[in-house]
Symmetry: C2
Subunit: 453 residues, 2 copies
């Protein structure tokens, strides 16, 4: 593949030309994968220009490729009336997500350019946290009063077929007075029923529904235990307010896993792509690194206390980074397992004892194995059994400490409503480094005459 | 919440009693979340017993809660005829996933107990890699010859309404001779068409489809760029062989992100729950730790080469773990960003130059900032400007090395078809540790007379 003609370079040129036809042709020639990659390579300015050049519906497709915060930045950069036109092309949940990221002033400016009913809907949706049924639900669903006949419904579908094109029409929702949900009908049942039948007469069972505040994890469990592809969402009065789709629940869980992945690697806010401005990327990464360097200084201060021991047996300096790194490895394994079990809801934040019981024996076995390896290599290298025992015991003991802390720290953080993905790692390594340095150097001090020289 | 009556403990007791009614009552009393947690807390033996006690359809619901490998283990533990009955209750894609995890002998035993047509389907499905359309697709879809009328379809739906209950009926697929896909009809269009119309006459556009070998990432991009909730999958002859649903694509991506998260934390195979047997957990974690301890010994050998320098200026031992840890932090940030960009398909494995161009300036800025902090603290502590400069320069330079290596290592591994999630971290820390130790100790050797003592 020649890099000269990389699709994203073609798009950059087309945008620079400000020729709407050329831009549209260029995008239409891309595969879905090429398009995503090309959009990711544009600068903020190029993206704002692209979205301005294109028709609202074509621009909406571009905006859907972006993260919510990137989309919000573009909406702030273009005219509110144009932003409103683009937003109107998106599903209600996405409109609310993007508007939720805007500054209050910008949000009002854009909402005032939208249809009042649409703006009202966005205002309502954005009040729900994004990881609840309310935050995930869409408002593009079909509901009919129970007094309607099958034929009434078919007539409505026909009359509004244009509007309903983008609806996820698999079920129709049946309501009684004041939008109270009383039943769900698969579209197929409608096809199989006589046209004159009333909806109230063909409803089979009590409707299954969730509440606006039902959290993401519960939605997942609920969907896994059933065959529904969408769930009606009711508010505290039992009124139907939206539908949450299985694919959207899975997507939200996938995004959360991606975010956790970034956070445990030290990307603050869980988001970085290299197309972001250098300043944002540098600041986000540095905010994490600056905390870590101070934590490192604290743990290294333990070494400073033992400079006398070290000057007698300078060989110990070889082992300090090994102890530090290996304890970090073991502890991070335990952190990852706890994070996953918390996500799956199969460990509760108060179950310290259960986690410790599961880590203790494992940590002891692996600690002894690792200690034996390090001790053996040390003995081969230096032929000093005391030195071997000091490093082997310190590593074994510190390994047990590391898995115990690693397994339980995310529980503590969760209990105190802190983000376990971002904070667990630095807390773990600070404690295990301090313990590890202390163990090696204090054990060594005890037998210093045997290992000095 | 009293731990004495934790739901999972009740389930354990009910299983121990081997009383089918009691077990069923217990499970029925659980919420979806409680059920998932309770099942996760059972031992392998308890799970096999549970699945044996329950009816095939109730057992299938339990099996769906488990990972494929856990489900496969249970299938091996129970009678093949019972396993076949349970599998028959699952969607075709899940059947194939579970059978794919079984030993060849066990798989044949179970398949021979299934309906021949069903067994054949499973054999065909399990040949496709799980991260392609073929591996993700289900075979429970509705297809009709183009010569059928709307009324023919409605009659078929009515006659088989029992069988189709678990189908995801949103579209019907229209085929010509030999199952060649020629069109897709939303069920709604069927509802709006006259009963005597032939399917060939109400098809609107050319059908959108994917191929069995289309990879997961492309399916995601394709679905993101469209409004379809399901895509027909055709084989190399253009014949319809299955349907891949949006929710299943999202779920597979979420699982992959979870797996990556576990792998970068050093959990081999990307899976561990604390309900797994101790032996499996210990072996999986140790397999990663054992590699790391040897890599650590290699990098620590650099320190061993500089024992003379260290014995002259023992204070340097304080800085070695700091340099090692900070470079690991910076490098891991870069690894995470590259992994994510690879997943999203917005960086290609050959784009080393692009990644380096994006990391170089960022690495220099953050390196200088971190170096300045470390240098300043060192100067305050020891008042030795030479020592300050040595550690500040070494950290700054090593930070640049770390982000350059961290950003590009996943690309190299991907290019050589290795798993970047599992191997990037250890390779990174080994190289940056060696470089970091070398930089501190060789700079220190240059000005040894000024910092010794």
């Amino acid at each position: 593949m020649s890099k000269k003609h990389a699709p994203w370079k073609l798009l950059k040129k087309a945008i620079a030309s400000q020729d709407a036809n050329r831009v549209e042709e260029c995008i239409d020639s891309f595969s879905a994968t090429e398009r995503a990659r090309a959009i990711s390579r544009l600068t903020d300015e190029e993206r704002a220009l692209l979205v301005t050049i294109l028709s609202p519906s074509a621009a909406a497709e571009i905006v859907e490729e972006l993260s919510e915060s990137q989309a919000a930045e573009i909406m702030e950069d273009i005219a509110p009336s144009h932003a409103a036109e683009i937003l109107s092309e998106l599903p209600s949940a996405e409109q609310a997500d993007i508007v939720g990221e805007l500054e209050e002033k910008e949000a009002s400016a854009i909402l005032s350019e939208m249809l009042p009913s649409e703006a009202e809907e966005v205002r309502e949706l954005k009040q729900y946290p994004s990881d609840t049924a309310g935050g995930l639900m869409i408002t593009e669903y079909l509901s009919y009063p129970s007094t309607f006949t099958v034929d009434d419904v078919i007539r409505d579908l026909r009359d509004h077929s244009e509007t309903y094109t983008h609806f996820d029409v698999k079920y129709i929702y049946v309501t009684a007075n004041h939008h109270t949900l009383i039943g769900v009908l698969p579209l197929r049942d409608l096809l199989l029923s006589p046209k004159e039948a009333r909806l109230s007469n063909i409803l089979s069972e009590k409707p299954v529904f969730v509440r606006t505040k039902t959290p993401l994890e519960d939605l997942k469990k609920f969907l896994d235990a059933s065959a529904y592809t969408g769930l009606p969402v009711v508010d505290k009065y039992g009124e139907l307010v939206g539908v949450v789709k299985r694919a959207d629940v899975e997507e939200a869980l996938g995004e959360r896993a991606e975010e956790t992945l970034m956070k445990i690697s030290g990307i603050a806010f869980g988001e970085e792509l290299r197309s972001l401005p250098l300043r944002d990327r540098t600041v986000r990464r540095f905010s994490w690194l600056s905390v870590n360097i101070f934590l490192n200084l604290i743990s290294a201060s333990v070494i400073a206390l033992y400079q006398n021991t070290l000057s007698e047996a300078v060989v110990l300096a070889v082992f300090l980074p090994i102890i530090s790194d290996m304890s970090g490895c073991s502890g991070n394994q335990a952190i990852a397992v706890t994070l996953r079990e918390l996500t799956l809801g199969i460990v509760k934040p108060y179950e310290f004892a259960w986690v410790l019981s599961k880590e203790a024996l494992l940590g002891t076995i692996n600690g002894l194995l690792l200690g034996a390896i390090l001790g053996a290599v040390t003995f081969i290298w230096k032929g000093n059994i005391y030195l071997s025992l000091v490093v082997a015991l310190a590593l074994a003991l510190n390994n047990l400490i590391a898995v115990s802390i690693g397994g339980t720290i995310p529980l503590f953080l969760k209990l105190f409503k802190k983000d376990p993905a971002l904070a667990s790692g630095p807390i773990l390594t600070t404690i295990t480094d301090m313990c590890g340095f202390f163990l090696v150097l204090s054990f060594a001090t005890l037998v210093l005459s045997k290992i000095a020289g």
